[in-house]
Structures are given as structure tokens and as C-alpha cells.
Amino acid sequence: MSEKAISLHYEIDGNNFTVAGQASSSIKKVLKQLGVAPEVIRKVAISMYEGEINTIIHGKGGVADVTISSESIIIVFKDNGPGIPDIEKAMQSGFSTASDEARELGFGAGMGLPNMKKYSDNMTIESEVGKGTTVTLTVNLQ
């Protein structure tokens, strides 16, 4: 097993909606440079995008840290937002607390977290109401 890993850090601005997707684009390029298979890139892209948007809309901004090793890609989204009171419920397809404003922009289908679960090989959520949320995703390279 190799210890080598690439770390990437992204600040996700909670006030700027137009930057959504930038971290995802950047990661996609890095993965292509590393020669990672397109199927894996797709899994990461979807997870990354949904996570970025949740961090903006629900978490009021935060950070994403991505660690790429020869075995896996680990993505950690961390925010100091309102937190998730009932994680199990939040994970259900279709559950959403998105504001009308977010819905107008086409978000709020309640599919973000379920998609992240579907496209990653492992996902954990730690959250405390009033403190913030940390979502950790692992996508295996093989």
C-alpha cells in the first residue's frame, strides 16, 4: 500500500451561488491528469457538485478537502451552518428544507444526499444543530 496522497483544499463561499461547481470542475481536471477512469470521475463529479451546493445553500458556506490516493478519493465537506436535526430523514429521497429562493433556482428536490450516497462507496454525516455539519465521502478507485 502506498502512502502517497494529493490534498486539495477549496473554500466554498456561502454567499456566492455562481461559483457552485467550480471545485467540481477543478477536481475533474486533476483526476484526468492522474489518469483516473471516467466512471470514477463521474462518481466524484456528482458527489462533489451536490456537496458543494449543500454547503452553499444549507451550510451557509464552508470548506471542502479532497484527498486522492492510489486507492481512493476522500471528500470532506465541513460547514459551521445550522446543522441537520434528523440525519435519517435528511437522507430520504425527496426530503428537503430548501427555501423558495433555492427552489426557484432548481434546487430542493431532496435528491442531493441520496445521490451522494448512491455514487460514493462510503458516506458518513456528522452534524450538530447550531454547530455545523461534516459530510465525508469515499470513492474507491478500483
Binding site: 502517497k4 494529493i6 492522474l34 489518469g35 463529479a45 478507485l141
Partner: protein, 442 residues
């Protein structure tokens, strides 16, 4: 790898005209250009022939290789297949037949309109969309610059591309077939020439996408044909009734034309290569995107904005619109479909070409990536382009690949010169006593 065969490109550089400025390297959507030895160099495997550099070069040093009008006389029977964009180049054009008759005056024996062939493509696309077997959202296949962009940058969208030949190719197939029937000549004695707004199409004619056999014998730029047509249009005595296309086909010249012809509800029409990149990034990321069809065109405004046109994009757009309205009033002529589904479908799958990977071995690639990140951190992050690479990131990548050195960055070079100067002063102080001056009295 025989790179010439594999990566044939119509876009070329005239080194005499190139001043080595940074206009083209900055605008290239695939970062395929570097300035080396004071001249631009195109990295063949990355170039998608979109023609962005042809437009951005202030010295006209970039061009697209096309055939010349004289070349049509190598064939016994010559057919022009004009892009609908050609119709948008002329002032107050009321009758397309004037242009088509003009093409015959130039030496063509017959014309077949690409605008007519769009009807075949639209019909077949409608059928495929209705069957619902294609991967959603379906991305149009009419713009070869977009297809090439996808093959090098969006591997996950390759299966979304409509697996159907372009209107140009359909026009060529029909025209050749009909000519064989009419003249009894062998297919190879018939020369089919596309009158093109497009550098990417000039490439496609030699290296087709989705099909192995080249279908078009040559490409003439609208620029050239326009110049030859202008002086003769006034001299045409009898305008022949040659045009069979309808308004929907003419509208394909502008952005949104293909989508309009399909008449579908959930579509996005995007034009301009940077906008296309942005949209495709989102399509790749967003599982929930509720869109059936994407019409993506590399040029701003669509093909009327093509690099081989003469008229201003927006003026041409208006002209096309007017012309289409006139045709609409005349009514749509019925669609004849002289091509089978087999002839319309791609027969060769297109594949992803990773032009970005740093190494085939992921561990080595990771090592290089780390070095690249370290190099990047030390660069000034000004993206000034003076090093010949489009950005500091691109330079750090070039350095890791062994194509450049840190001192290609003028800021790094200055630091180094300063450091050298400091070392010289230091050395001077360490000189042997017999070399040093001093102000003691002896």
C-alpha cells in the same frame, strides 16, 4: 504514434505572420497553444479545430487549410453542398436560387443544399428521441468542434452524443447517390465540395467522426466562394430554380435552429465554446438536470459566427432570420428521405482521448502532480502569459512534463538574475587580497 495521421488538423499557423503575442494562447479552450521561440505552436493532440485562434489572431497568422476553387476541376462531375450560413453573407438576398445559380456559374455541375439535408437529420433525430433509447440529455452531433471537445474533455458525455451523421455528411451522401443515378459516372468521378463557415468541418472531411469513410471530397471556405460569387451575381441572366430547402433548414445556420426544428420542449441551446464548456461541466455533474436535448455549437451565434465567414455574426444572424421568414410564408416543402437509417447512423464509435494525464502509472502521476503543485505555489499567479503558457497552472504543468523551466516565467527569471547579482557582489568580497582595493595607508 503517427501523429499526423491520428491528429490531422485544418487549423494552421503562418510562422511569418505570427508575432508571438499571447492572444491565441489565452483564448484556446483546450490550452492547446504555447509560444515557443517567439512563435505560436499548436499541440496537435489537444486541438479541437474550433477556430477560436483564427478569430483571435490580430495578424491573421492562423488559418484553416481548405481546398481552392480550382480543385473542383479534378472531378468530372462537381457538386457544391453549401452550408445555410452562405445565404446569410449577402445583402438583401431574396432568393436563394440566385446564390445556387451563381455556384453553377463558378463551375459546379449541380448543387445540393445542406439546409435540405437538415430535414432528414431532424426527422431521424425526432424518431430516435421518441424511441427514448438514447442517453439523456442527448447532445447534438452537428458541430465537430463540440464533439472533439467532448472526446478530450468530457469522457462521461460521449454516450450522450446523438449517433447520427451531420447534415453536411447527409447532403454529401444524397448528392453523390443522385449524381451517380443521373450521370452513370462512378462515385469517385464525382467531386462533392462543402462550402464551409467552419474550420472544424474542414478537419472532419479528412478525419471524420463516427464514420470511417470520408464522404466529402473537399471544403471551400465561404470567404473564398463569397469573393468569387460577388462579381458574377449581377451578371446572372437566368436564375435557375434549384433551391428545395425550407425555413427550418435555413435556421440551422444560427444558434437554436436545430432545436427549433426538432420542436421539443425541454432543450438547451448553447453557443460559443466557453459557454459550451460551462454547460457541459454542469451536465456532467448534475444528475437531476431535466433536459432532453442540448444543441451545442462551438461558435458564438452558431455557424453564422464560423471562422471562415465574411459577414459580421450578428448581421448574418438577422439576414438568416429574415430569409427564413420569407421561406416560411412560402410554406414548407415535403421532406423526402432518400437515406436509410443505416446510412444516417454512426458506424464507428468515438472514444475518449485523455490528453491531460501526467503519466500512465498513477503513482508517478501523483508524484508529478505534487511537484506541479509545489511549482505552482512559487509562481506569481498573474497568468500573464509571457512564459508562452496560458496560465501559471499551465506553466507548472509544462515544467513537470519537461517542456519548460521555471525561468520561462519572467518574474522567476528576474528573481534569479537578482540572486545572481547578489552572489556576484558576495564573490567580489571574497576575492583574494591582491585583487581587492583597500584604503589603508602603507
Amino acid at each position: 504514434m503517427n501523429s499526423n495521421q491520428q491528429y490531422y488538423h485544418s487549423v494552421r499557423l503562418d510562422t511569418d505572420k505570427c508575432k508571438g503575442c499571447i492572444n491565441c494562447i489565452k483564448g484556446c479552450p483546450t490550452e492547446a497553444i504555447r509560444v515557443r521561440d517567439g512563435k505560436a505552436k499548436i499541440i496537435k493532440e489537444r486541438c479541437i479545430d474550433c477556430g477560436e485562434c483564427i478569430r483571435s489572431c490580430p495578424y491573421q497568422a492562423k488559418s484553416a487549410v481548405t481546398e481552392r476553387l480550382d480543385d473542383i476541376f479534378n472531378y468530372r462531375y462537381k457538386i457544391a453542398i453549401p452550408a445555410p450560413t452562405l445565404y446569410g453573407q449577402f445583402n438583401n438576398l431574396k432568393d436563394i436560387n440566385l446564390i445556387l445559380t451563381g455556384l453553377k456559374y463558378l463551375g459546379f455541375d449541380d448543387v445540393y443544399e445542406v439546409a435540405k439535408a437538415t430535414e432528414i437529420i431532424t426527422d431521424y433525430t425526432k424518431k430516435l428521441l421518441k424511441e427514448g433509447k438514447l442517453q439523456r440529455p442527448v447532445i447534438n452531433s452537428a458541430c465537430p468542434a463540440v464533439i472533439r471537445l467532448i472526446t478530450v474533455r468530457f469522457p462521461n458525455l460521449i454516450n450522450n452524443i446523438l449517433p447520427v451523421i451531420s447534415p453536411m455528411e447527409a447532403a454529401a451522401k444524397v448528392a453523390r447517390k443522385e449524381a451517380v443515378r443521373k450521370t452513370g459516372l462512378r462515385p469517385s468521378e464525382i467531386g462533392v465540395f462543402f462550402i464551409s463557415p467552419c474550420a472544424a468541418k474542414a478537419t472532419s472531411v479528412r478525419s471524420p467522426l463516427g464514420t470511417l469513410a470520408p464522404l466529402v471530397d473537399g471544403v471551400l471556405s465561404i470567404k473564398e466562394v463569397y469573393l468569387k460569387l460577388l462579381p458574377i451575381l449581377g451578371k446572372i441572366e437566368k436564375v435557375e430554380d434549384l433551391s428545395t430547402c425550407a425555413f427550418a433548414g435555413v435556421r440551422w445556420a444560427g444558434a437554436g435552429g436545430e432545436a427549433d426544428a426538432l420542436g421539443i420542449e425541454k432543450y438547451v441551446a448553447v453557443d460559443g465554446i466557453d459557454n459550451v464548456v460551462k454547460l457541459l461541466e454542469e451536465v456532467e455533474d448534475d444528475e437531476k438536470l431535466d433536459v432532453d436535448f442540448i444543441e451545442a455549437l462551438g461558435c458564438t451565434g452558431g455557424c453564422v459566427g464560423g471562422p471562415l465567414t465574411v459577414e459580421n455574426t450578428f448581421v448574418a444572424k438577422t439576414k438568416i432570420k429574415k430569409l427564413a421568414e420569407t421561406l416560411k410564408r412560402k410554406g414548407q416543402r415535403p421532406v423526402v428521405i432518400p437515406l436509410s437509417e443505416e446510412e444516417l447512423r454512426w458506424d464507428t464509435p468515438i472514444t475518449y482521448r485523455n490528453v491531460l494525464n501526467l503519466d500512465d502509472d498513477i503513482l508517478v502521476a501523483m508524484q508529478k502532480m505534487e511537484t506541479m503543485q509545489d511549482i505552482y505555489e512559487k509562481l506569481p499567479h498573474l497568468d500573464c502569459g509571457s512564459c508562452g503558457a496560458p496560465s501559471c497552472k499551465a506553466l507548472s504543468e509544462d515544467i513537470v512534463r519537461g517542456y519548460s523551466t521555471e525561468t520561462d516565467c519572467i518574474y522567476k527569471l528576474r528573481e534569479k538574475v537578482r540572486e545572481l547579482a547578489r552572489q556576484m557582489v558576495e564573490l567580489e568580497e571574497e576575492m583574494p587580497g591582491s585583487f581587492k582595493s583597500d584604503n589603508r595607508e602603507y
